[in-house]
Structure formats: C-alpha cells, structure tokens
C-alpha cells in the first residue's frame, strides 16, 4: 500500500482518471441533451462501438485524424437518425429500440472489424499536447495539462453545454419539449424536430466518445471495445440529475474508481482483477441509489409525443 501513496503514482492515477472520463463525458453530455428533450437513447454503446471502428479504420487506411473524426461523426449521424426514426416517428418503446441499436452496433462493428482488419492493429492517434507553461506547474500540470486534444475538448464541453441548456433559447426549447411537449407544441415548437435534433446531436457526441477510445486513448480497435461504457454513460445522466456539471462529477467519480482499479493491477496489489473490475459497477449502483431522488427528471422522459394526448 506504501506504493500507492507515492506522489508519482497519485499523479499518474489522476491523469489516467481524466483520460478515462473523456469518453463518458462526450457520451453522457450528448445523452443529456437527448434526455432533456424526452428521449432515452440506450443505444449509446452501439453508436460508440461502430463509430470507434469507423474512426479507427479511417485512420488506419488514410492516416488522417480529421478523416477519423469525420467518419465517426458520419456514423453518429446515421445511427442517431435511425434511433430518432424508431423512437420519435414510430414511437417505439425507447428502452427496447435502444437495445436494438446497441446490438446492431456491436454486431456491425465486430463484423466490419473481422472482414476489413482481422487482427488487432494499432494506429497513430491524437498525440499528447502539453499546454505550454501550464503543464510546468508542479503536480497539477502533469495531471491536467498533458493530454490529447479530445480530453480538453470533452471538459470544455461541460460549461458550454451548461450555458446552452441553461442560458439560451435553444436550451429552454429543448427542456420545454422534455418537460411538457403538449405545451411546447401549442407554442408552435416542432416537438418531433427538436427531439430528432437532440437525439442526433447526442449520437454524434457518442460517436466522439467512440473515437476518443479508438484514436485517442487506446489507439486500437477490438471486439466490444467499449465493454458497456455506453450504458454507464446513460447511467451518469441520471446520476448527474440531467445537468452537465452533475454529469461531469459522475464521470469523474466513476473514472477515479476505474483508474484506482487499473493502477492497483499495474502495481501488482494482490486483488483478483475480476473483483477489482466489479468496483466501478458496484459504485455506480450505490451512487445511483443515493442520487436518484435528486435533480429534475424531464417529465416526458421515455414518452413518445402524440398530438392531442396529454
């Protein structure tokens, strides 16, 4: 245990925490928009998987990181429209259609990987960017300012999302649609259009989450790369009380547990890996139990809008 208290290890652990939190932040911030408009997109994990593959494959074949991000975004738009069509236009049970989307993304990404790539290969992903001066600050510098650009973007999106949701007409419109679609409809807001846009935006963010795994933090693709991280991201939205700041705290708590677990294994602390792997999930359940009554749940969450029905 002595090793754990070593300053270098703590810095490493906190640095890892921010890297691990990045995909959760992207996916959960996107899902925050989706859920605030009233749609639970449970297919986040599937979107992350297929877009992670898209980004990985684009970078593997062209070497261009920009094309990687664009490929992921394209997958995000397509899958977001699929989810919107089934959940908003066809008014399907969102929990089930999301699972369908997840199964599709899991199967499709694994199929394409086997056919197009075959073996595990690595790509040259986003490099670590040390912010000049700031990264020189002792302790905080190496924790906060030695990351790939996607990590910075993910954290910058927290205040931006907060501002959009809380301080702009766009945010008000989204929340009106999620809280009281009938009232929003009578004010002339196109409820279904707002939901389409929010779900698709959420899906593109999930796609960035996938890309942040395959071309930024891990720089590879394999079957079921996300191992259910998309579901955790959905849970974080509930935990965060549907607010971007709450979501960020959730992502950090979850990631510190994960980071601790990884570093325990790196340092050879004799805890079976599988038991340590359980820790983040147990923690999420506990945290959900203690936080569930907090926050304002969008009143129309999970309810398709049908004009003329309260």
């Amino acid at each position: 245990m002595n090793q754990l208290l070593n300053a270098g290890v703590i810095i490493g652990m906190l640095n890892t925490m921010l890297i691990l939190a990045t995909p959760f932040l992207f996916a959960a911030l996107g899902e925050t928009f989706s859920q605030n408009s009233g749609v639970v997109n449970l297919g986040v994990d599937g979107i992350m998987l297929l877009s992670a593959f898209g980004a990985f494959y684009a970078v593997l074949t062209t070497g261009s990181l920009l094309l990687g991000i664009l490929a992921a975004a394209f997958v995000g738009v397509v899958m977001g429209l699929m989810m919107s069509f089934v959940s908003v236009t066809l008014k399907a049970e969102q929990g089930v259609s999301g699972i369908g989307l997840q199964m599709f993304g899991l199967g499709m990404s694994s199929l394409l990987f086997k056919v197009l790539v075959g073996t595990v290969r690595t790509v040259k992903g986003f490099p670590t960017v040390s912010i000049p001066l700031l990264s020189r600050i002792p302790v905080f510098g190496p924790i906060l300012f030695e990351h790939s650009i996607l990590v910075y973007i993910a954290f910058a999106l927290v205040p931006i999302s907060w501002w959009v949701l809380e301080r702009t007409t766009v945010g008000l419109t989204i929340k009106a649609v999620g809280q009281n679609p009938a009232a929003a409809d009578s004010r002339g807001i196109n409820v279904n259009l707002v939901r389409y846009l929010c779900v698709t935006f959420g899906a593109v963010m999930a796609a960035m989450a996938g890309a942040s795994l395959s071309i930024s933090s891990l720089n590879l693709f394999q079957d079921n790369l996300t191992a259910g991280q998309g579901f955790i991201a959905v849970a974080l939205v509930y935990f965060g009380g549907w607010t971007p700041v709450g979501v960020m705290f959730g992502a950090l708590i979850f990631s510190i547990a994960n980071s601790l677990q990884l570093w325990l294994q790196v340092l050879g602390v004799p805890i079976p890996a599988s038991l340590a792997n359980m820790l983040p999930y147990l923690l999420t359940i506990l945290v959900l139990a203690f936080s569930s009554r907090r926050g304002r749940r969008p009143a129309a969450l999970n309810k398709p809008f049908i004009r003329g029905e309260a």
Binding site: V86, A92, G107, N277, L288, A289, P304
Partner: protein
C-alpha cells in the same frame, strides 16, 4: 376490481386483448376495459393475424437488409438463407437444437414479459442467468452424494433463488430509491460476469485443468445424477424444454388467474389508477423484477445441468438479450412466447449453419438481430393502427 377475470372463456389463451405489445401498454388500459365483453370470434382472429403479420414482416425486413450485407460480403444471400432454413429444419439434429435454444429463450422471455407487464424493463437476463448457473454448478459439485430426484429440483430452485436475488437488487432499488431499473440491471450483468470470471479462475476452476496445467476457465463437470435427461438420443435435447413449457403455463395462470398477477398487470397498464385503488405499485414492480430474475436464473441453471454439464465462459450465449427479442415477438404473452422462442431458436440454429455454409463472421447475425429488435419495436405503431381500424369497423372503440 376483479371482475375482468371471470369473463374469460376456455379459449382464454387466444384472447388478443391480453396480448399487449410494449408500445400499447399505455393505451391498452382502454382496450382492457372497452375490448372485453363484446368480442366477436372473427374480429379476434383478425387481431391475432395482425399481431403475427406485423412483427414477422419486421423480421423479414431485417433479413432482407441482412441479404444486402451478404451481397456486400460476396456471399450469395439465397444460398445463405437456404442454408439457414436447412440448418434449422432439415435434420433431426437441427430440429432438436432449435428446441434446445428455445428453452433458455422461453425461460428468460417469460421473466422479461412479467417485468414488462409491470412496466419494468429487465435488461439483466444475462447476469441473472449467470447467477443461476453459478448456483447450479456449485451445488451439484458440493452435494455429490444426493440422488437425482433430490439434487435436480434443488438445483433448479437454487438457480431460481440466485437469479431472483439478482433481479431483487434492481427491484428494491427501484421501489425504495426510484433508481432506473434499466441501468441497474445492466450493471448487475457486469457484476455477475466479473463474479463468474473470478470464480472460474479461482475457487470453481476445474481441478483437472490445474493438474494438467491448461488452466482453462471452466468448472469441473457436474456429476451424472444432477444432469437433466436427454430425451432424443444423439442430440442435445434435454428435459428442460418440458420445464420451460410447464413454466409458461404457470406464468400464464399466475398473470391472468391470480390476484398478484392481476395487480402486476394493473400496475403496468395504469400505475395511477392502481395506486388509487390501493395496489402497492412499488412492491409489485419489485416483485415482477425479482420473478423475472428467478426465471432467468432457472434458464442459467438449465443450461448447466441440461446442456454444458459445467460452468464455462460464454455459457449464456447472449440469451439474456435474445430473450428480449423473443418476448417482443411473443407479444409479452406466456403462450405467445412458446412459438416465438421456437421460431427464434430456429433462427439462431439456422444462423450457425448459414455462417458455416457461406463463411461469414457470426457477428453478422448479431447485427441482423439488432435490426430485428429495431424493426419489431418500431412496427408496434402499425399493429396499433391496424387493430384500431379493425375495432372501429366492428363498432368497438370508435375513438381510439
């Protein structure tokens, strides 16, 4: 409150009013009240037809898109799907294998249907199956000197108990703390999976694997008396299918003939009305999730004592998720689930054959199944519209 139950005739299993697909659940309250009493035979059959034709069309549409994928993969879709049909229906082994796969699908699907009826979405079938399978491995290995007629029922009961525990946790969290059950059931899947990995790499690992130095992540084989009988020689078909069929009838009776079952359905149809009439909504939702877990636990136990005879990685083969599809195709109805899970079992068996015949990765099947879920859940709106049309034509429910 209870008078609706007395109106069922002997052909009760075919009353379409009882088959409420998910998206109908909220609007079904009206049909539950309005649809009863004035039913005509021909309208009933028309509605059954709609509920078969629409989801099957969804499946066919998903398979058509699968055909496009096959073309892109340079495989001939006609020979691929021909291999699929041949694999499931063309041999005694295929036919029995279809039932072998239908067994866990039916068991998991029954649980998912109970939970859905109380408007709880149970995505935790995988974890609950693992919990049941763990018990069903540990107990026969520990209680070696018990005769079969004691150890088999006990194993199944323990499997039920372990699965029920795995469903109880999300249930109680939903009831006490209003935690979303979709998320907790998914977390419980991961926890069960890690627990199984831990046990397979440690306490439950096959001593033979340790001796020979292979260290395979699997348990020792369970003793003969604990195994379910094989009912067709040279196949894997085991007596678990009878258990599943009996339980389907039991769940049917439970949901439609008992007070508790009635309350569970009432909670799903209209939680507010249920609350005002004195039904404990939270208790019934927790109960439905616990029972769902228990049934998936039995599915896990049956996979161990009927098929594999040991615990090993990948034992659940995704049945926990596929059970959701089966439940959807079976209109969340215990009796509808029987043909649905056999059909779906056939799809899985055929998919194996297809994969070997045309050399495509099995992941294609996963992608197609995902589309099946999307299409079937999305097709509910047409089922509803069509049925509304039939009802308004026969003078029922003019408005909705």
């Amino acid at each position: 409150m209870m008078n609706t139950q007395n109106k069922f005739g002997p052909d009760v299993a075919l009353k379409p009013e009882d088959w409420v697909p998910l998206s109908d659940i909220r609007t079904a309250a009206s049909s539950e009240i309005a649809g009863k009493g004035r039913s005509s035979k021909s309208r009933d059959w028309k509605e059954i037809g709609v509920r078969v034709v629409v989801p099957v069309t969804g499946v066919v549409a998903a398979l058509m898109i699968g055909a496009v994928f096959l073309l892109i993969l340079d495989a001939n879709p006609v020979s691929a799907y021909a291999a699929m049909v041949r694999g499931a229906l063309g041999s005694r082994f295929g036919l029995t294998q279809m039932l072998v796969k239908a067994t866990p699908l039916l068991l998991v699907g029954l649980g998912i249907s109970i939970a859905f009826r109380a408007s709880c979405i149970n995505i935790g079938g995988e974890g609950q199956m693992i919990a049941g399978a763990l018990m069903a491995t540990w107990f026969p290995l520990a209680a070696t000197n018990l005769p079969g007629f004691v150890v088999v029922p006990l194993t199944i009961i323990l499997g039920f108990a372990a699965g029920a525990l795995w469903g109880f946790v999300p249930g109680i969290l939903k009831a006490r703390y209003a935690v979303n059950e979709i998320l907790t059931t998914i977390m419980m899947n991961s926890i069960a999976l890690q627990l199984m990995n831990f046990l397979l790499q440690g306490p439950l690992m096959d001593p033979k694997g340790i001796e020979s130095g292979t260290y395979l992540a699997q348990s020792a084989r369970i003793p003969d008396p604990a195994r379910l009988a094989r009912i067709v020689p040279q196949t894997m078909l085991h007596s678990g299918i009878f258990l599943a069929l009996i339980l389907a009838v039991v769940v049917y009776i439970f949901l439609w003939r008992t007070t508790i079952g009635y309350r569970i359905r009432a909670v799903g149809l209209n939680p507010d009305a249920s609350r005002y009439s004195g039904i404990n909504v939270r208790f019934n939702q927790a109960l439905s999730l616990t029972l769902a877990g228990g049934l998936a636990g039995i599915a896990g136990a049956v996979e161990v004592i009927g098929v594999q005879y040991r615990l090993l990685e990948g034992l659940t083969s995704g049945y926990g998720f596929a059970g959701i599809v089966a439940a959807l195709l079976g209109w969340l109805h215990p009796i509808g689930l029987i043909p649905a899970s056999i059909f779906f079992g056939g799809l899985l068996v055929g998919a194996d054959t297809m994969q070997r015949a045309v050399q495509v990765p099995s992941a294609l099947i996963g992608a197609i199944l995902g589309l099946v879920v999307l299409f079937v859940s999305g097709s509910g709106i047409w089922t509803q519209r069509w049925i509304r049309k039939i009802r308004s034509e026969s003078g029922l429910e003019g408005q909705r």
